[in-house]
């Protein structure tokens, strides 16, 4: 049933697929690296790696550090997760701004806070990039002091820090 000719044809179809895949991925603006960053101990997982092991100053990569910032006060924590997740529990004083509803809600945020308001975004930890997206959007909207707490709500909760 599957004879030599079929095997040749399969090989042709596979070659076309792989070739096309590499070509499109290379030229597409949404293409990804050939090897991603999928180790949560190295930071937030993502299909496109940071490239070099450069420090990311905007990332807060320990829960204790996030707590220090929280204790200093004056910092606005912004929850990038869905409204439901936010209502189930969030960092005390945090406001909800689901990254998917950014466009509808950014106006009121801009009205309430000055652009130099220190902001820390967070989401569901290192398997989640939403806090990074939100931080990017906030910077684009004009906020100048935005950082990302990469361990997010699960990391915070696991340490037994207060939630509301």
């Amino acid at each position: 049933m599957v004879n030599r000719k079929t095997i040749q044809e399969i090989f042709i179809l596979l070659s076309i697929s792989v070739g096309l895949a590499m070509l499109v991925n290379f030229f597409s603006p949404r293409g990804i690296a050939l090897v991603g960053q999928w180790d949560t101990s190295q930071g937030v997982i993502t299909a496109s790696p940071s490239g070099t092991e450069e420090e990311k100053p905007e990332e807060i990569n320990s829960v204790a550090r996030a707590m220090e910032i929280f204790d200093n006060g004056n910092v606005l924590f912004v929850d990038a997760r869905s409204q439901d997740n936010y209502e189930d529990g969030h960092i005390p004083g945090a406001i909800s701004l689901p990254v998917g509803q950014f466009d509808e809600q950014i106006e009121s945020l801009l009205n309430r806070y000055s652009s130099d308001q220190p902001i820390v975004t967070y989401c569901s930890g290192r398997t989640c990039e939403d806090s990074h997206d939100l931080a990017q959007f906030l910077s684009d909207a004009g906020f100048t002091n935005v950082r990302i707490f990469i361990d997010g709500f699960p990391g915070w909760e696991a340490k037994g820090y207060p939630i509301e």
């Binding site: 079929t6 399969i10 596979l14 991603g36 299909a47 997760r81 997740n85 989640c128 990039e129």
Partner: protein
């Protein structure tokens, strides 16, 4: 005793012939082949679209299965959608249809295996991410396994079909 058993075996043979006739008439019905091929082709072209547009999201889904070495996740996420697209197009147009069906069925077998392993070990990945939650990617894994098994049977029909295929680039040349 002897007579009885020979009657029984003759009856069995007749039944066997009828069954194999039925199998042949389904297996070699060119309209069924065309339907199976087009359903599979359109389904896989459709399924590839979102993954091709959002490879990073698809890579995260691949990661979420928790079965692949981290070095291969991106490559899997880059290549699988194009196997689906090229396989689907080939089925739709009847270009190397049998070979395309072999590729599609290999993919289906892989999907079924991955989903079943995670069903059995009760592994469900939820990154709590907004994008993944919104894309509505997952139906229930059980439903998905069942659906892919049906597709697999359609694929077998296309592979085993022995007649002249309707509306097919390659069958015109034969």
């Amino acid at each position: 005793m002897c007579g009885f058993s020979s009657t029984a075996s003759r009856a069995g043979k007749r039944k066997g012939t009828r069954l194999s006739n039925l199998r042949q008439s389904i297996g070699n019905n060119s309209w069924i082949e065309l339907t199976a091929r087009w359903i599979l082709g359109l389904t896989f072209i459709y399924a590839s679209a979102y993954k091709i547009v959002s490879p990073a999201d698809f890579a995260k889904i691949v990661y979420g299965y928790g079965l692949f070495p981290t070095g291969l996740i991106n490559l899997i996420a880059i290549i699988i959608p194009f196997l689906e697209l090229v396989g689907g197009l080939a089925l739709l147009l009847g270009f190397y249809p049998r070979s395309a069906a072999v590729i599609i069925n290999a993919l289906l077998l892989a999907f079924i295996t991955v989903l079943s392993i995670n069903l059995i070990r009760g592994h469900e990945f939820d990154c709590g991410c907004f994008s993944a939650g919104q894309s509505g990617y997952f139906s229930s894994p059980k439903v998905a396994v069942l659906r892919e098994m049906i597709y697999f049977i359609l694929g077998l029909q296309v592979i085993l079909f022995g007649g002249i295929r309707r509306i097919s680039i390659k069958s015109l040349r034969r």
